[in-house]
């Protein structure tokens, strides 16, 4: 079967294509086909798991297609190793439950078929991501997961908040992807290949200097920060709860956000090369965990509490993996890898269950606000019981699955006291806020009688998946019982198998922490021995800060979004005024220049031409009076000229003396002429006057 594992992602893709192009108009058929396909992949995943177990976890790699382009290989292939096998089970199990659940939840929605198409597309992307055998392919599916989450979060796109949340999710995760791309580029530049095995071998052989490796690791981790909603890119996940609840369960609790954790686990060989990078990972993980858990303490929206809980739990996993990388880089053994991956699995089940349970509650009371619920246990037995099982599990109560994975995480922090204290603090907060949720929702008196009246248990298609996930929330952790020598830690591991026996002291401590959290919640919200309002009043500033989620959204809006938008507008006006201004300015300057030239042309150049004409004209108008017709005048003129020429001719050599004489003669001639002309003109005038008088 493993050699046909490529069918696992392809079947949901097939379902997507079929639903979009052929089955869209027949809603039951569309949903049925989609569910059938995901169930097939579920069966195949189990089969793959069994085969992987039978191979003792030996990785199985299969290439479909390798193309080399300019000395860089691009591959399509699959890699099935224990981590993959585990993830396949997680994705297909939760995926199947969610799709079946959606039958009831989405009933009557006008975009019912489309919802199933998107779910199938999501499963395709996620399964492809898990099965990829190289960095390039995982990035492709990574982006497709981003796309489908965009489509699903914004599924009810008529609601502005939903559309906003989709956009926010896509862009925020893309900021992380920015780092992912740069990480990929570094990998390609130094290793010349994208294949996991080859890259890890080359990194092991030291092709990357330590500084570059650290940078590459941190950049790759950026991708995980975006997808797994780690600080400081965690802001999209709580908003993503605007999507339909099954989506929240599938994507934002169980699978897609797990992709980031999977990525860190998958690239662990990169991280163990650099203790610094691993420490960054661990620190980001624990910051996220504390931050999100503290926010979850005071939220009133049932889905938001769960969303912050998810962020917090993801921080746990990331921290465990980071500590593993750090310890391994230092040459110590660490339980972090096993802890992180185990918690990834157990969390997927109980968090999927919590979301589906929340969906069932919302379906019944039509509100998300836990302050308007209460006493629902009496009306919704199956939902309440499964929800509480999951709450116990996430709180880490023996012997539910969450206990074992959380215990592993605590063990992983054993060399790092600060981390351990913070981890236990988060465990306490987790137990508290989960049970605050349970008490407010299911117990006490109904705070909104009308909503309570109309509440009813959800249909079988919805409670069925709850029960399946409930069972898994109990038993999934048992694969890692510390008394088992061939349990989870010898199946999914990194480096050498390292099996530490049970640590009863830590088990005791974490149990005490969890129980005290639950007890406190019981005292505050059920027994009302301590007034929640009084507490809130006493710690008003902290409460306000937490209630407003540390003002991250406002902060980002202020320091990032507005400045970038303003920056865009600035460059736009720069473009219009300066860059285009220069172009238009050049144009205008040219026009001005040609205007100037036109003036020059009209007044100077053409002026000179016209001036010549004018001068000739003027001269002619004056000189014409020389033509008098008086013979004496002509004779005099001839005489003068003859004299002039003669003088000129003979006295040529004596220029100095001749010229004044000549000039004198000439001018006297001219004067004479003038007089003559005047006289004749006068004569002529009088003649004309006389004539006209006649």
């Amino acid at each position: 079967m493993t050699e046909h594992a490529y069918l696992i992602p392809l079947l949901p893709l097939f379902a997507f294509v079929m639903v979009v192009f052929f089955l869209r108009w027949k809603e039951p058929l569309a949903a049925g086909f989609s569910i059938a396909m995901i169930l097939c992949t579920w069966v195949m995943s189990i089969w793959v798991l069994i085969e992987t177990l039978a191979r003792h976890g030996e990785p199985y790699e299969f290439f479909f297609y390798i193309t080399s382009f300019a000395s860089l290989n691009f591959e399509i292939g699959i890699l099935v190793d224990p981590l993959t096998a585990m993830m396949l089970i997680v994705v297909t199990t939760v995926g199947s439950c969610v799709q079946i659940y959606s039958l009831g939840y989405m009933k009557g929605d006008p975009k019912f078929s489309r919802f199933f198409a998107y779910l199938s597309l999501f499963c395709f992307s996620m399964l492809g991501l898990v099965l990829a055998n190289n960095f390039f392919m995982i990035f492709i599916f990574w982006e497709l997961v981003g796309l489908t989450s965009y489509l699903l979060i914004g599924f009810w796109s008529e609601k502005k908040v939903a559309a906003d949340a989709g956009k926010k999710a896509f862009i925020t995760t893309r900021i992380g992807d920015l780092g992912f791309i740069v990480g990929l580029l570094l990998v390609a530049a130094y290793c010349g290949t994208f294949n996991y095995g080859e890259v890890f071998d080359k990194i092991g052989a030291g092709v990357m200097p330590l500084g570059v490796l650290t940078m590459a690791a941190i950049f790759l981790f950026c991708g995980a920060v975006g997808k797994s909603a780690q600080f400081p890119l965690h802001v999209w996940l709580p908003d993503a709860m605007e999507g339909p609840t099954p989506v929240s369960a599938l994507i934002h609790a169980a699978t897609m956000v797990a992709a980031g954790v999977y990525l860190v686990a998958r690239f662990m060989n990169v991280f163990i090369g650099s203790a610094d990078a691993s420490m960054v990972v661990a620190v980001i993980g624990i910051i996220t965990s504390v931050l999100a858990a503290s926010i979850a303490l005071v939220q009133n929206d049932i889905k938001r509490v769960l969303a912050y809980s998810t962020v917090s739990q993801l921080g746990y996993m990331i921290m465990a993996l980071g500590l593993y990388g750090y310890d391994t880089a230092q040459g110590h053994h660490s339980a972090g890898y096993v802890a992180g991956t185990l918690h990834l699995m157990t969390h997927a089940f109980f968090k999927g269950l919590l979301f589906l349970g929340a969906g069932s509650v919302i379906h019944a009371v039509h509100t998300n606000d836990i302050q308007e619920m209460g006493g629902l246990f009496r009306k919704m037995k199956a939902t309440s019981i499964t929800f509480m099982i999951a709450s116990l599990s996430i709180a880490g109560i023996f012997p539910l699955s969450g206990f074992w994975s959380k215990d592993e995480i605590v063990v992983a922090t054993s060399h790092h006291p600060i981390f351990m204290v913070l981890t236990l603090t988060v465990a306490f907060m987790t137990a508290f806020y989960m049970w605050r949720l349970c008490f407010l929702t299911f117990f006490g008196e109904p705070r909104d009688a009308e909503r309570y009246e109309h509440a009813h248990e959800s249909p079988k298609s919805m409670t069925g998946p709850l029960i399946v996930l409930g069972v898994l929330s109990v038993v999934a952790g048992w694969v890692a019982l510390p008394w088992l020598h061939h349990g989870f830690s010898s199946f999914v591991y990194h480096g050498e198998v390292h099996h530490a026996g049970p640590n009863y002291l830590l088990m005791l401590i974490s149990t005490v922490v969890a129980v005290s959290g639950i007890v406190l919640a019981w005292l505050v919200y059920h027994k009302k021995a301590i007034s929640a309002d009084a507490l809130a009043e006493k710690f008003r500033p902290i409460h306000t800060l937490l209630y407003n989620k540390y003002y991250f959204d406002e902060l980002y809006d202020l320091i990032l979004i507005r400045p970038i938008l303003a920056f865009g507008r600035f460059w736009w006006s720069f473009d219009a005024r300066v860059v285009d201004g220069m172009v238009n300015g050049t144009g205008r300057a040219t026009i001005l220049w040609s205007d100037l030239k036109e003036w020059f042309d009209v007044h100077i150049v053409d002026g000179a031409v016209n001036g010549c004409g004018w001068v000739v004209n003027q001269a002619a108008s004056k000189l014409k009076y020389l033509q008098t017709g008086a013979v004496q005048f002509y004779a005099l003129f001839m005489l003068l000229m003859i004299v002039a020429v003669a003088l000129f001719k003979f006295e040529m050599t004596r220029v100095a003396t001749t010229w004044p004489v000549l000039t004198a003669i000439f001018f006297s001639g001219v004067v004479l002429l003038g007089l003559l002309v005047r006289q004749t003109a006068n004569k002529k005038k009088t003649a004309d006057v006389l004539e006209s008088d006649k």
Binding site: E158, K167, F170, I175, D177, L185, A188, G568
Partner: protein, 494 residues
């Protein structure tokens, strides 16, 4: 007449025939134009097919026609031929021209002149991509300006005259520099020639100064066409004012002529100058990527947004061209040219579809029309995703190849900055999608909108198919170009 000549002259013949049809007979004109752009389209498909199977193994020019003496006294020749970088461009030109003509059926004003100009435009574009004589190339390069000027200036939007004149003069301004470079090359070659292939052989022997001068002059001419920042401001105006089909041609083909000419002419001719200036070219590319994206984000007009996104996307081409020593980058540049032609061409078509119905392109006036026009919205979201580089579509392939290639060949920090374009691209595209298609729907205002019709679908669907095809399986395209690109890289490395 060989196939390349027929690619040039069939649209020209079509133009003549269109002019002979009485202007009242609009349908005859439209269909004649369709047929005479359809034939070159089919020819260009066949050419791509045939080239792929028979010629793509070598970098030699295929389907060579000539050199025939054209102006013997100046040794100017009619010389045509294609290789791995021109064939995809011909494919794109053939396809987009025909689709644009189909998309222009809605034009009702002076139909005859419109289609005549459009066919003349196609002649010019085809000519540019097949010419191997620099003078011939120049002639085609200039010929295109005339129909383009009238297409924008007569059939354009409110500021059409301004946009048309700006486009015309700006390009012409660049052409002067090209002409000077042509003259320099002509007079420095012995015997005087303008045969590009010969010039590529001989011109690296020129002095460094002369190479720099010619390179910079040619760069200015080509950069205006691309357009490279800061020569880009004609583009938003021309795009916004031009009728839909002309915007498609502008974005889809005309911009590529700039990058094509760099790759065909100035890059291999002046490797010395290229080496000296490559860093600055990369800087211009990165500026264009970031700047174009930021400015796109601030746009209020749908068409202007797409226009500025073109500036950003062509910036990737410049970045790739600066990384001339990397086969991945150069191939990425070719991919980006093709993919931008497909995606942006489609986006302009789609914006036109909406504009035809709503008579406005103001983003803020829309909202929630996704529920009213589901098919249209689906296609628009598809192309928005393609434009922001989603894997599985052609834009991703090109961007990724460019990043990988440029990262290895250029300053890593610079390329790292350019990756920011990926986030900004997502931001402006998704903002647009959200503001136009998602959110609450204004029934009163947009209740009368109708979904995309069959003719419009016919123009867009081929582009969708190609975008997906190249995105899913880029191998055929890489193998079509690889021999030519290898040869080019050796030439540029001289």
């Amino acid at each position: 007449m060989g196939i390349l000549s027929s690619l040039i002259f069939i649209p020209l013949a079509g133009m003549v025939i269109v002019m002979l049809i009485p202007k009242e007979n609009k349908w005859a004109i439209r269909w004649t134009a369709t047929i005479f752009s359809g034939i070159p389209m089919i020819q260009s498909f066949w050419l791509t097919w045939d080239y792929f199977f028979n010629y793509s193994g070598s970098s030699a020019m295929a389907y060579v026609e000539g050199p025939f003496n054209w102006i013997p006294s100046l040794n100017i020749q009619y010389f045509l031929g294609v290789d791995g970088i021109s064939v995809p461009m011909l494919f794109l030109t053939g396809l987009l021209s025909c689709l644009s003509i189909v998309a222009s059926f809605g034009i009702d004003k002076r139909v005859k002149e419109y289609f005549a100009f459009f066919l003349l435009l196609e002649t010019g574009m085809m000519g540019v991509f097949v010419s191997l004589d620099f003078f011939l190339f120049y002639v085609f390069w200039e010929i295109m300006l005339v129909p383009m000027y009238f297409l924008i200036g007569v059939w354009g939007g409110p500021r059409k005259e301004y946009a048309a004149i700006k486009f015309f003069l700006y390009t012409l301004f660049g052409s002067i520099f090209m002409l000077v470079a042509i003259l320099v090359l002509y007079f420095t070659s012995e015997p005087h020639t303008l045969n590009m292939l010969t010039l590529i052989e001989t011109s690296p022997a020129l002095s460094h100064t002369l190479q720099m001068v010619c390179f910079i002059f040619l760069f200015i001419a080509f950069a205006i066409k691309v357009p490279v920042w800061p020569f880009h401001t004609w583009l938003p105006d021309a795009h916004t004012e031009a009728p839909t089909a002309v915007s498609v041609i502008l974005a889809g083909v005309l911009l590529k002529m700039g990058t094509y000419a760099m790759l065909r002419i100035s890059w291999p001719m002046f490797p010395d100058a290229l080496r000296t200036l490559s860093f600055w070219i990369a800087v211009l590319g990165v500026i264009a990527i970031i700047y174009g994206a930021l400015v796109s984000m601030a746009q209020k007009d749908l068409k202007k947004l797409v226009a500025y996104s073109s500036v950003s996307h062509m910036g990737y081409c410049m970045l790739a061209l600066a990384a001339f020593s990397s086969a991945q980058a150069i191939a990425g540049c070719m991919f980006q040219m093709i993919s931008h032609g497909l995606i942006t061409g489609a986006l302009f078509l789609l914006v036109g579809v909406l504009y035809d119905r709503a008579h406005t392109r103001e983003i803020a006036l829309f909202g929630g029309i996704g529920s009213k026009l589901p098919i249209y919205t689906g296609i628009m979201v598809f192309f928005s995703m393609a434009a922001l580089g989603l894997p599985g579509m052609s834009g991703f392939v090109s961007e990724f190849m460019i990043f990988v290639g440029a990262f290895g060949a250029l300053n890593k920090v610079l390329v790292g900055i350019s990756v920011l374009g990926v986030v900004l691209g997502a931001a402006y595209m998704l903002r647009m999608v959200q503001n136009v298609f998602l959110g609450p729907f204004n029934e009163e205002k947009w209740g009368g909108l109708t979904d995309i019709n069959l003719r419009e679908l016919v123009t867009v669907v081929p582009l969708m198919v190609l975008t997906l095809l190249i995105g899913m399986y880029p191998k055929p395209l890489t193998s079509l170009m690889s021999a030519t690109l290898e040869n080019l890289i050796t030439l540029m490395a001289r």
